[in-house]
């Protein structure tokens, strides 16, 4: 469980029980069979919305093709019933399994894409399946009736029972969503949505979590689709794989509230009855009224409150209380740090590291060593290849040649999160935070990335916040921090993951003199506690103060290295920074 999620979970569960009971109670009073159908469809579309929300709401992987999974569920149930006489009670789980497999097949290639390319690619899958089913001749399939054992085949003469099953399905789906939201799964997804590279650099295997989200999401969608087929008793490729189906999931969730358990439920409860009843009243004169309503609804909500109704209402009427300070002693749960390696022993050895972009050799034959417990400063003019060097070391870029060995293990050829798990923390030139998450969660992500269990992770995060001097801000959203606090938070995130080597990219950039001193103090303290630091920095006075040794890069090559005093008096270094003329004048 995530830190502080127990009360939220309890509150949400109570709400779920109350809402379900009230809804079922209300459905008893509905006698008109059409309204009864709407009462059944609301939970079905809410389930579909919940499924979309897990992947696209929490994880930020916008899918416009969720009809793939909905349709797979519907068609599996139908085909299994028609050809094998398999009851939908088993057909729906079967459809979920098929959809889970389909999710893996779809996810493997498609997660190579980001942002809108991902969204567009996802759109193509259901449409391709749609045409393929038409080609196979599954144009319009009806589910055969089983009058002798209707209940065994999920067929009810009393339409109330359909509503009961639908609500049951919704309860399960919402519960799954709550579990996801309140576990490291949900936190990983939120982190991926807000800053994928930062999540990866904090040790989160983003590909894996996205895949898990897609599989869970696909299975839930298939359950909704399978049950939908049982309710309507007839499926066509258009009615389960069509564009409007995919849109339905997007619309109810966006309208109700993105990345909230209740969003899809609220959205479905408002929009489905509205669209369906308009369709029933005016469908003959205005045949597409349902789609128009959905279109207007999402444009309106996007312009008025982009996060959806739930968040707007919550922010307006239920301001969250100021976060409580962290309980004393929380940091005691941190796992004990391993024996610090002998100070001064070789920690990292980089040899002949090179990388070209086209004709530009951004990093070329760079070799240097880092000893345990030292602060190594990397300096050099703009474009010298400093950041590229870090990107090569922590797996953002692949090296063309060379090696980098961290206490006996090669760092190269690993994914970003893999390098992080070796105990290498990284901060970025432009701070990469998860702005909407509280500072504590930001830091816990680093601890999760290192594979710590929940209690240990919370302890490690609290401990890291103490070391960075941020304990007082644990409950504040990262988006509200100052630049200095953000820089320290990034440090804490790396520390929470148990980093023994920190790669800091211009950590002091944009800080005033005093703020700069504060950060330097923290860095010095970390060094004294045994952490090794490699830092890129332009501010020479700061570097002179803390760095034990310098490596100077210019045009991708190592120009000089050694003790700070010696390096700054090196003629080639002065030339690189200030030009030949300056150096000549100094000599004269």
């Amino acid at each position: 469980m995530r830190y502080g999620s127990a009360p939220r979970l309890r509150r949400d569960l109570i709400t779920l029980v109350i809402v379900s009971v009230l809804y079922l109670g209300a459905s008893l009073f509905v006698t008109n069979s059409y309204y009864q159908l709407i009462m059944t469809l609301v939970p079905v579309w809410a389930v579909f919305g919940v499924s979309w929300n897990i992947l696209s709401g929490y994880g930020g992987q916008l899918s416009f093709g969720h009809a793939s999974f909905f349709g797979i569920g519907a068609y599996t149930v139908t085909l299994a019933l028609v050809y094998w006489n398999l009851t939908p009670w088993l057909g729906i789980p079967l459809g979920m399994i098929v959809a889970g497999l389909a999710a893996i097949l779809i996810g493997l290639p498609t997660f190579r894409l980001r942002g809108h390319y991902f969204a567009l690619a996802m759109l193509a899958y259901p449409l391709a399946i749609l045409y393929f089913l038409q080609y196979l001749g599954f144009q319009e399939m009806s589910l055969p009736m089983h009058r002798e054992h209707p209940t065994a085949f999920l067929e009810f003469t009393n339409p109330h029972y359909y509503t009961v099953v639908a609500v049951g399905l919704l309860i399960v789906a919402v519960f799954v969503c709550m579990v996801v939201e309140n576990s490291r799964f949900g936190l990983a997804l939120l982190a991926i949505r807000q800053n994928e590279l930062a999540a990866e650099a904090a040790g989160i295997n983003t590909r894996l979590w996205k895949m898990r989200a897609l599989v869970v999401s696909g299975m839930i969608a298939a359950s909704a689709g399978g049950f939908y087929a049982c309710v309507l008793l007839v499926v066509t490729p258009d009615s389960v794989f069509g564009m409007l189906v995919s849109a339905q999931a997007v619309v109810v969730t966006l309208f109700g509230g993105v990345a909230s358990v209740w969003g899809p439920v609220i959205g479905a409860a408002i929009l489905v009855p509205l669209a369906e009843s308009l369709n029933a009243e005016l469908g003959n004169i205005l045949p597409g009224i349902q789609g128009v309503v959905y279109g207007v609804a999402i444009i309106g909500i996007m312009l008025a409150s982009p996060d959806g109704l739930f968040w707007t209402i919550r922010d307006r009427f239920f301001r969250p209380r100021a976060p409580a300070p962290l309980p004393v002693g929380l940091a005691a749960g941190a796992p004990k740090a391993g024996e610090a390696r002998g100070r001064g022993s070789l920690l990292l050895k980089v040899e002949g590291l090179s990388r070209s972009f086209g004709g530009l050799r951004a990093v070329s034959g760079v070799s240097f060593e880092v000893n345990a417990g030292e602060i190594l400063g990397i300096i050099g003019p703009n474009g010298a290849g400093k950041t590229t060097l870090f990107n090569l070391l922590n797996g953002v870029l692949a090296a063309d040649e060379g090696s980098a060995v961290l206490s006996g293990q090669s760092m190269l050829g690993r994914k970003v999160h893999g390098v992080c798990r070796m105990g290498v923390g990284r901060t970025f030139q432009v701070v990469r935070s998860f702005p909407r998450l509280p500072v504590l969660d930001n830091v816990i992500i680093g601890a999760y990335g290192a594979g710590l269990a929940d209690a240990e992770a919370i302890g490690a995060a609290a401990h890291a916040l103490e070391r960075a001097g941020l304990s007082g801000l644990a409950g504040v959203a990262a988006g509200q921090l100052t630049n200095k606090q953000l820089r320290l938070m990034e440090l804490a995130r790396a520390l929470a993951g148990g980093a023994r080597l920190l790669l800091l990219d211009e950590t002091l950039a944009g800080l005033g003199r005093e703020e700069c001193d504060d950060v330097l103090d923290v860095l010095t303290r970390l060094r004294n506690e045994g952490t090794t630091v490699v830092i890129i920095e332009h501010t020479m006075h700061a570097m002179m103060r803390i760095a034990d040794r310098f490596v100077v890069l210019d045009h991708g090559r190592v120009l000089a290295s050694g003790l700070p005093r010696d390096v700054v008096e090196d003629r080639s270094v002065i030339e690189a920074y200030l030009g030949k003329k300056w150096a000549a004048r100094q000599d004269a």
């Binding site: 916008l62 416009f64 290639p109 498609t110 190579r112 894409l113 942002g115 809108h116 390319y117 969204a119 567009l120 690619a121 759109l123 193509a124 899958y125 449409l127 391709a128 045409y131 393929f132 038409q134 080609y135 807000q194 800053n195 590279l197 564009m243 409007l244 849109a247 997007v250 966006l254 205005l286 045949p287 597409g288 009224i289 349902q290 789609g291 128009v292 959905y294 279109g295 207007v296 609804a297 999402i298 444009i299 996007m302 312009l303 982009p306 950041t387 870090f390 990107n391 953002v396 970025f428 030139q429």
Partner: protein, 318 residues
């Protein structure tokens, strides 16, 4: 004998591929302006194509204002006139909706505003499709011209193998090429064109250079809409269409733009041409129902096999 049939089929597929491909090329230029250059993810581009078809239809058939031009000329003039009509529509769409989720307002935000654009244009797409159903009905339509049922015959080339060039498509192809060249010249060499490209490429810098980026965006979005609509009007002469036709073509357009390389007008044209060509040639080996599925497979392959490279800027600076 079999060889003759084969040769005839192949040659006709090639001819159809090139003529239809040119029209696809024009269609893709429209999206190329909006998505390739302005970097707005427009989900509703297919519906703009559909609007172009219906605009042309209502201009030309029945009591349409162009009916007097007769069935030979009117369909093509109608297609061209659909351009300005949908241009105006697109410009309004941009002013009231798209501008709120794109341009200067979203540069520098987490995802450059793509989330908002996807959602808003999805909404527009839903409204236009279903609103189209209300306004235009679901009966498949076509802008009738006798040219669609007559062909220029070339050959016989080998034995009895003859190439048939459908006259409607041939003229449509010519109009598409001329429109594309005109647009290219305007964008490349006029002051307006330069301002548009500057604003689209870097709105912040363009603002500092004294370009009214809001207006430039509106015009560029309108142009993108209008160009696709002209292609739609041209397609309407040889194809039956309904309010939901846009969905099939939006994928084709994105395939073409992505294939041709983001940010290039000529690239978008070549991309569209290639996709049209492949689609027509797939008719040689695939049954008709699978041709549409094939387009989606081709689209997926294009964006999966070349996720970078063809895409212009893709690497994130760490």
């Amino acid at each position: 004998m079999d060889l003759e049939v084969l040769i005839e089929n192949v040659l006709n597929a090639l001819a159809a591929g090139i003529t239809i491909g040119c029209i696809y090329g024009l269609m893709c230029i429209g999206l190329g302006l909006i998505f390739g250059i302005m970097r707005i993810v427009n989900f509703a581009q297919g519906e703009l194509l559909m609007l172009g078809m219906f605009a042309s239809l209502y201009l030309v058939t029945g009591g349409g204002v162009l009916a007097f031009l007769g069935p030979y000329i009117a369909p093509f003039v109608g297609a061209l006139l659909a351009g300005p009509i949908v241009f105006a529509f697109g410009a309004l769409l941009h002013k009231f909706l798209i501008a709120r989720v794109s341009g200067l307002r979203t540069t520098g935000s987490i995802d450059e505003g793509h989330f908002g654009q996807l959602v808003v244009t999805l909404g527009i797409s839903l409204i236009l499709q279903n609103g189209g159903l209300i306004l235009f009905g679901s009966t498949p339509m076509t802008v009738r011209t006798p040219l669609a049922s007559s062909a220029i015959e070339i050959g016989p080339i080998y034995g009895d193998a003859t190439v048939f060039l459908n006259k409607a498509r041939l003229i449509a192809c010519a109009v598409a090429i001329i429109t594309a060249i005109t647009l290219y010249l305007v964008l490349e060499y006029t002051r307006l064109g330069k301002a548009l490209r500057a604003a689209a490429d870097n709105p912040t810098a363009a603002t500092y250079m004294g370009i009214d980026t809001d207006k430039a965006y509106r015009i560029a979005f309108g142009l993108g809409s209008g160009i696709t609509a002209i292609a739609g009007g041209l397609m309407a002469t040889y194809l039956s269409f309904g309010p939901f036709i846009g969905l099939d073509y939006v994928i084709i357009m994105y395939s073409g733009v992505v294939l041709g390389g983001m940010g290039s007008i000529l690239g978008a044209f070549w991309g569209g041409l290639t996709v049209g060509f492949v689609q027509q040639c797939s008719a040689l080996v695939l049954p008709p129902q699978l041709q549409n599925a094939a387009i989606f497979v081709v689209f997926l392959m294009i964006i999966l096999l070349r996720p970078q490279g063809l895409f212009g800027r893709s690497a994130e600076r760490a």
